[in-house]
């Protein structure tokens, strides 16, 4: 028995790499059904996620429809389209529109949701709480087209309800949806409306995780409800708030393409045009593929840095994002 093991271990010393290869092969064979399952998905990921990543090289080429992605000539100099973008007047405009809209959306998205979560938690009538939750989650599932329709119903200059009230009250009507003064507020406001209840879910879950004995102890010490919110509930969900804030900052170059694209119009481009909408128009409507791809790559690259940075910072709060 012992001798046999000794021989085997000796042999394994000699052919270590070979057996390693063999075990890997048998292992792969053992798991073959899993690889067969993975195959369609991996092929899909390769074609529709990774080939476009290869396709970003057209940002460095003079893309020509006839020659295709590989056949087109390299741009001279290679950063030609980036240069065009950085030198153009819309560089500053697009970047500031994107950041302003994003930051306002983060602020006006998070604060009301946090307040709602705290109020829902303070509500002790269960059936009432559930009703409010069901009602307030609903807008999250409406498409931006629907929400744009709702905006028209209230804000349209000719038939909107608000303008009817304004004109009845003797004021003049306001073209909210085509006004550069109002348009960003409408973007931010409609998103805040859509995500108010849905955004509260995660804070509610965090509040539910707070140790109830803290509240008991505070009650004994004579704290009122407001004290308890301020000194127990808010500190209890502080980490979640910071975490979500950082993660949202990581995505701040996505100011909401679909929403802006559906709701904007030529009159408000100046304040509403974000990187994604500009890339869409330049690339797919004006067929200026290389310039649009270079701006898209600029956005994706900065986005990658922001998201990874956000993850690193978030990890400091002891939470793993993936």
């Amino acid at each position: 028995m012992n001798a046999k093991t000794a021989v085997e271990s000796e042999r394994s010393l000699y052919t270590k790499s070979e057996t390693k290869k063999k075990t890997l092969m048998t292992n792969l064979w053992k798991y073959k059904s899993f690889y067969i399952m993975l195959a369609p998905g991996l092929i899909w990921f390769f074609i529709y996620k990774y080939l476009p990543m290869y396709g970003v090289i057209i940002a460095f080429k003079d893309y020509n429809v006839m020659e295709g992605i590989t056949g087109s000539n390299w741009a001279d100099p290679w950063y030609k389209y980036f240069q065009i973008f950085f030198d153009s007047p819309y560089f500053y405009q697009l970047l500031s529109n994107t950041l302003i809209i994003s930051l306002y959306k983060i602020l006006f998205g998070m604060v009301p949701s946090i307040v709602l979560a705290i109020f829902l938690n303070e509500c002790k009538t269960m059936w009432f709480k559930r009703w409010i939750q069901t009602l307030s989650y609903m807008p999250h599932f409406l498409s931006w087209v629907i929400i744009y329709g709702i905006c028209i119903a209230f804000l349209s200059e000719s038939t909107g309800l608000f303008n009817r009230w304004l004109t009845e009250g003797g004021a003049s009507s306001i073209p909210f949806l085509t006004s550069t003064d109002w348009f960003r507020s409408i973007l931010v406001g409609s998103e805040a409306w859509q995500s108010l209840g849905w955004g509260a879910i995660i804070y509610l879950a965090a509040i539910a995780g707070i140790n109830p004995s803290l509240y008991e102890a505070a009650k004994v010490d004579g704290a009122n409800r407001f004290h308890m919110i301020w000194h127990i509930t808010l500190p209890g969900i502080r980490n979640v708030i910071i975490l979500l804030f950082i993660l949202k900052l990581g995505h701040m170059l996505d100011a909401g393409f679909e929403q802006v694209y559906i709701m904007y119009n030529v009159q408000v481009y100046e304040v509403a045009d974000i990187i994604d909408t500009w890339v869409f128009r330049t690339g797919l409507e004006q067929m200026n593929f290389s310039l649009a791809a270079s701006v898209g790559l600029f956005k994706s690259a900065i986005g990658l840095i922001l998201v990874i940075g956000a993850n690193q910072i978030a990890k400091k709060w002891g939470e793993n994002i993936w």
Binding site: N27, Y31, S33, F34, Y35, M37, L38, G41, L42, W44, F45, I47, Y48, P52, M53, G55, V56, I69, F119, L120, E122, C123, W131, T134, L135, S136, Y137, M138, F141, L142, S143, W144, V145, I146, Y148, G149, I150, I152, A153, T159, R164, W198, I201, I202, A205, N224, R225, F226, F257, E258, F280, L284, A293, G296, L297, K299, A301, G303, I321, W322
Partner: protein, 286 residues
């Protein structure tokens, strides 16, 4: 329990605020419904729309449904929702199950490949060129195939599978069941909640499909509901009133909005709890 004055005032504040939130959430849609049902006589009489019309009629709805545009796009949307969701669920499950097996060789590489697509993407233009190269432009499949798997849903489903009790798999393997049988008969039977939740996310995503349609579809016959409704919303007065002068433009527009949102609103109360669960599953991950 004895409550002091301050606490009672606070309760009142909470209740009133929550009622306001509830009203704020549904009132806008109710107003849209009211506008969509207001007859022209009343608009003329009042000089505009009111919150509660005295009379209602369904002219705007019959008008929209009697023209081919809305019914046709409705069919397109139903097709991409049904077929798209089936494809989504099959592909997502086939990815998530192997990735949930902790000793699968290469597992971490595959997971990284999925996660990386959440961090970086080729952007709108290169993606368009690949979709074009695969021959999907102006086909209904352009709204299904390029978005066939949501990386995030793969991760949610994977972590659900990871939490299934390992003994069941072992027992089935000892009984000689292959992995495909285990997936089809055991895993799926145990995964109804996550399947419903992820399936619903895909359904809502397809029903609200807009982005891929404006990217890849130029043939008006293939436009999904959301695109057609958006066209109706941005049309000016003349374009709509030329068709039928007795229905106000806004009434037609709002009727279109209601047609496009009705299916979601109708199923929402019944599936709400699954969706909420999914949000929590997702937020633990993300």
């Amino acid at each position: 329990m004895v409550k002091n004055k301050g606490d009672r005032a606070f309760d009142l504040l909470v209740t009133i605020s929550l009622i306001l939130v509830g009203v704020l959430s549904v009132f806008p849609l109710l107003f849209v419904v009211a506008v969509s049902l207001t007859p022209i006589e009343e608009v003329l009489k009042n000089g505009g729309f009111v919150l509660i019309p005295e009379a209602i009629n369904f002219d705007a709805y019959t008008h929209l449904l009697s023209q081919p545009k809305i019914p046709k796009s409705f069919m397109v949307t139903i097709f991409i929702t049904v077929v798209g969701t089936i494809i989504n669920l099959i592909l997502t499950t086939l990815m998530a199950y192997p990735l949930s097996r902790k000793n699968l060789p290469g597992r971490n590489i595959f997971i990284f490949l999925v996660v990386f697509t959440l961090l970086f993407n080729g952007g709108i233009v290169p993606t368009y060129l690949i979709v074009k190269a695969t021959g999907l432009l102006n086909s209904v499949w352009a709204m299904i195939i390029p978005n066939a798997i949501w990386s995030f849903n793969v991760l949610i489903m994977k972590s659900f599978f990871e939490n299934l009790p390992e003994d069941i798999f072992e027992a089935a393997r000892i009984d000689g069941a292959g992995e495909f049988r285990i997936l089809g008969q055991i895993v799926l039977a145990l995964s109804k909640p996550v399947m419903i939740t992820i399936g619903l996310f895909y359904v809502v995503g397809h029903w609200n499909e807009f982005f891929q349609a404006v990217m890849y579809i130029t043939d008006p016959a293939l436009n999904p509901l959301q695109v057609v409704v958006r066209d109706i919303l941005v049309q000016n007065q003349d374009q709509i009133e030329n068709v039928d002068a007795v229905i106000p433009t806004a009434t037609i527009q709002m009727a279109a909005v209601i047609i496009a949102s009705l299916p979601i609103i109708v199923i929402y109360p019944f599936v709400q709890k699954h969706l909420t669960k999914g949000m929590l599953l997702g937020s633990i991950k993300g």
